[in-house]
């Protein structure tokens, strides 16, 4: 039961990542690409947590916890760069 659910969830997240990647490649504008990257890191958090459940280990959780702030800071930095032409004023 759990194995099937984990497999379905893996498939969903993998498909989601592929769609994000398609949007990242296709564009058409820079904000689209930033949005695609933003969605990708959120999905990566989900993927890591899923992998933790799959293996029954909690170590992967720390990585998920680290990726979440890093991705957010990355998005903010990219947006600020486009908005102001500078990140740290």
């Amino acid at each position: 039961m759990l194995t099937i659910a984990v497999t379905i969830a893996f498939a969903c997240i993998a498909a989601a990542l592929l769609l994000n990647f398609w949007r990242l490649v296709r564009g058409p504008d820079l904000p689209d690409r930033i949005l695609a990257l933003d969605t990708m890191y959120i999905n990566t958090v989900a993927l890591l947590v899923l992998f933790g459940i799959h293996l029954g280990l909690t170590v992967f959780f720390e990585a998920a916890l680290l990726i979440a702030p890093m991705g957010f800071v990355g998005t903010v930095a990219l947006c600020k760069y486009l908005l102001r032409g500078d990140i740290i004023e």
Binding site: I8, C12, I13, L30, D38, I42, N43, I53, T58, C79
Partner: protein, 123 residues
């Protein structure tokens, strides 16, 4: 019983994350695309985190609650990044057609200041 609940949250979470990305891929313009990732993907990851919480509480001694941290963090940051992306798009001139005129005396803040933080004066 717990396994059933965990499976439900896993499948629901995965489905919502997928819906968010489908929205990102298929909707026609950026402002519409924003809706998918901010809502559906956040809830999807939330569902998977709840599943992880239940799973590890059941198989290990004691309760596992640290997933709440990631869920809360994503709930707080997802709207902020959506706001920033929207504002970037407006700044780059993407939404000119649909934006209603500002009431007199109100200038747009776009490109002036980052509205989601307490102000830091430029020194």
């Amino acid at each position: 019983m717990v396994e059933l609940l965990v499976s439900f949250f896993l499948v629901a979470g995965g489905a919502f994350a997928l819906i968010g990305s489908i929205g990102l891929a298929r909707l026609p313009d950026l402002f519409m695309r924003l809706h998918g990732p901010t809502k559906a993907t956040t809830l999807g990851v939330g569902g998977i985190l709840v599943a992880s919480m239940l799973h590890f509480s059941a198989i290990e001694a004691g309760v596992s609650l640290h997933e709440v941290l990631v869920a809360v963090f994503l709930m707080i940051t997802a709207p902020v990044s959506a706001h920033l992306v929207a504002r970037t798009m407006i700044h780059l001139g993407g939404g000119d057609k649909g934006i209603p005129d500002a009431p007199p005396g109100a200038k747009s803040r776009t490109g002036m200041k980052n509205g989601n933080e307490p102000e830091l004066e430029k020194t």
